[in-house]
Amino acid sequence: MIRLFANANYDFIKWRRWAYSLTAGIMLVGVGFLATRGINYSIEFTGGTLLQVATKTAVPTAQIRQALDAVGLHGAEIQTFGADTSYVIRARLAHAAGETEATSTQAVAAAVGRALDQSIGAGQYTVVRTEAVGPKVGRELQGKALLAIALSFLVTLVYLAARFEWRFGLAAVLATAHDVVATIAFISVMHLEVSLIVVGAVLTVVGYSLNDTIIIFDRVRENLHKYRRQNLYEILNLSINETLPRSVLTHGTTIATTLALLVLAGEVIRPFAWVMTFGIFTGTFSSIYIAAPILLLIEKRWPGEDARGARALGARAPVPPAPGPVPTPRPPAAPAPVR
């Protein structure tokens, strides 16, 4: 039988200040990139035109750029997409100035067609994907994406408040907020294109991270009831250690699938897979080093029987002592006092 981290007894909470510095460092780098380079929004959000072109033979991007300049499309982005016979040409609306908004996206698509006919030759390429999004639709989608993230916070807060206690809910939501910020920092450092699918990935990270936090908090809730003599610091450490094997296994299987997506599922899905892979790490990290310490802080700020979990269990009937041999309580994790 393989057992990973069975009966682990690490003092996770002790290292929380190191963890804070680590995450603050990541975010600082992210904010730096955000300030200098901004977010690489897809044309879904900015409005503009995207063409994906497959050519029969590899064509240097410089040649395509020259042809685009010749038809007056300056500043369009040209990237190879997966293979070297596959190109994505993006012209954001800001670059296609000088035309009315409504017609410009269509006109750009036509101009790119002309440019490719000249440089590569008609019949030597096929347009496999076109996206042309007007500015109004782009603005609407931005609003929708923000609404989605805000709504998901609100709903989970309400759900957690109903299922747990407000302290747990607040800690879980703060940890999740941390994940959103960290993920945005990651997106900005990696210069990933933020499309609707990536927003979907961020929301999935929200769900996944919350899921992970809840697993640990569920154990905290149970242990608060079971070991009434121990303080919250010890309970938190104990709960994290007890759920450690589960964390390793579940994150392992999930990472296995996101890595499969990352490597095999193609260019369109890749940004999604990157965000999910990172999200699993930050979700795990935040459950241990953001959610748990914040619970500790809240107890310090608003102490009382409540924070010890009495109210969290008040709604339920106390669990009767389990039959069979009495479980031997573990030794307290570390006799470090709450500071």
Partner: protein, 539 residues
């Protein structure tokens, strides 16, 4: 024993239901007939899972009323008119099951799966609507020409269909017998074309069984047949399918070639319910010039029927002209619901006030790209599943194998759920499905870890299993509900492909609850029953 049996019956029913939802079946699809370039119905045997545009290729268009040349006061009405017009042209798209729907107040979404020519599709959608009123074939000129047409078709070697259509024609008091009498040569055999036409209620109206309409359409568009259609007469299909008894029919109208009035003379059309007679009524107003012309024409055609034709399709049954009409007239629909009157008024307005549409969003995906995406998605899925299976079996041994068995059921349930509820599988949806395989085993991991803990506390195998399932349940429910909530919000707020992702995730969560908890518990129960004396558990 009985609980195990009950559980097995439930699982068996779920499996049978899921397989039934996924069995390839005959699906009617409209495809382009390469011979004639027109649409025809075919039946295809395929898995009943709807693929999104990004997987099967196609065009997604979002259109709005063009306001660049001055504001349009009532954009909601304009977009409704545009929707009506695009719907009339649906047969012109070279695709199966086009989607035409209004989103929000002023936006029209057109989705054409499998369409290969975006420029043509955009042309069809953006073309200005054309409305005309024409008198139907009151002198039965077309009907008199039918024997000649039949004879010409027979000479050209076109075989008449079996006796079935002519039997139906006689049932309706149709013209087959009459047409047969006119032509002595054809007295015994039913006419090629006339056998397919049943006399309608209005002069010049013929009803064609829905399954035969593409055949009739190809017959009447043959050059030799067109020559024989009397001068001054055109054939126009009806826009809606009508049912007589249990069978659907598509009306075909013989109408005069000369319109008595066109949509540009029309100024207003509104539907209302007459308070006195309790009839549904469409009132319309013509321009002064149009009114003059209309009053001349209606004076000559009292008691004649007038077909309302939008983009070459006759809308509704032609009404009879009761009296001379000037600039203001009304069409009485009798006891028909007001909805029908509103629809007719919309048709009239659609022809009268062209609503120029501008494309605000366009997505075109080539079919080869979609096929590549499916292939890549399946590769990633297979590799992901193999990795998950390896991890579970290596770590949890026999229990892990049980979880893997449940995982196959999970895949089956999720796909069946997509199919049964008619949801669409998109590329992000495929990614969501692969991802959810990794998450689906979480419930089993939680349960197995609990069982290991209970065993470590020295409990008996049976108790440990019971306690493990019981104690893990809280965490499983809470964590899955929170994930489902975020997915649900994504579904509410998202569009197209992202909604596909959210749906797949939600169905996946539901399926994983069934497979990971219910199915695995059942497998454990069977296992424990077979080996009651088991002292160690392979977990």
């Amino acid at each position: 024993m009985s609980t195990i049996r009950q559980r097995l019956i439930i699982i068996g029913l779920l499996i049978v239901g899921s397989i039934a939802a996924l069995v390839p079946r005959n699906v009617t699809q409209r495809v382009v007939d390469p011979a004639t370039g027109r649409m025809k119905d075919t039946t295809v045997r395929r898995m009943p899972i709807n693929l999104g545009l990004d997987l099967q290729g196609g065009i997604h268009l979002a259109l709005e009323v063009d306001q660049s040349k001055g504001p349009v006061p009532d954009c909601a009405d304009a977009i409704q008119r545009a929707e009506r017009v695009v719907r009339t042209r649906i047969d012109e798209f070279g695709t199966t099951e086009p989607v035409v729907q209004i989103i929000g107040r002023c936006r029209l979404i057109v989705e054409l799966a499998g369409e290969k020519d975006p420029a043509r599709a955009k042309g069809v959608i953006q073309r200005t609507a054309f409305l005309e009123f024409r008198i139907t074939d009151m002198k039965n000129l077309f009907q008199s020409a039918l024997p000649q047409i039949d004879a010409a078709l027979r000479r050209a070697g076109v075989k008449a269909r079996g006796a079935a259509p002519s039997a139906v024609a006689q049932l309706f008091g149709g013209d087959t017998s009459k047409a047969g009498r006119d032509s002595a040569a054809a007295a015994n055999t039913p006419g090629v074309l006339s056998a397919l036409l049943n006399q309608g209620q209005v002069p010049g109206e013929f009803l064609v069984p829905e399954e035969e309409w593409t055949l009739v359409d190809s017959l009447i568009s043959r050059p030799d047949v067109r020559q024989l259609i009397p001068r001054g007469i055109d054939l126009r299909w009806g826009a809606q399918v009508e049912s007589r008894g249990a069978r659907p029919y598509r009306p075909l109208y013989a109408v005069e070639s000369r319109p008595i009035i066109t949509g540009e003379e029309l100024q207003k059309a509104t539907a209302r319910r007459d308070q006195v007679t309790n009839q549904s009524v469409v009132e319309f107003t013509l321009s002064r010039r149009g009114g003059r012309r209309f009053s001349e024409e209606t004076a000559r055609h009292i008691q004649d029927y007038m077909a309302i034709i939008l983009d070459g399709r006759v809308q509704g049954q032609p009404p009879v002209i009761r009296s001379q009409i000037g600039t203001r007239g009304q069409i009485e629909l009798g006891g028909k619901p007001l909805q029908e009157a509103s629809d007719l008024a919309l048709v009239l307005r659609a022809g009268a006030l062209p609503a120029p549409l501008t494309i605000v969003e366009e997505r075109t995906i080539g079919p080869s790209l979609g096929a590549d995406s499916i292939k890549d998605g399946i590769h990633a899925g297979v590799v992901g599943v193999v990795l998950v299976i390896l991890i579970m079996v290596v770590y949890y041994r026999l229990s892990g194998a049980l979880a893997v068995g449940a995982l196959t059921l999970y895949c089956l349930f999720t796909l069946a759920g997509l199919s049964a509820f008619g949801f669409t599988l998109t590329l992000p949806g495929m990614a969501g499905f692969v991802l959810s395989i990794g998450i689906a085993v979480d419930a089993n991991v939680l349960i197995f870890e609990r069982i290991r803990e209970e065993l470590q506390h020295g409990k008996l195998v049976r108790t440990a299993v019971d306690e493990g399932f019981k104690h893990a349940m809280n965490a499983i429910v809470d964590s899955n509900v929170s994930t489902a909530l975020t997915a649900f919000i994504l579904y509410l707020v998202g569009t197209g492909p992202v909604q596909g992702f959210a749906i797949t995730l939600i169905i996946g969560i539901a399926a994983s609850m069934i497979s990971a908890i219910f199915v695995v518990k059942t497998l454990f129960l069977i296992w424990l029953q077979r080996r009651p004396a088991m002292t160690t558990l392979s977990v």
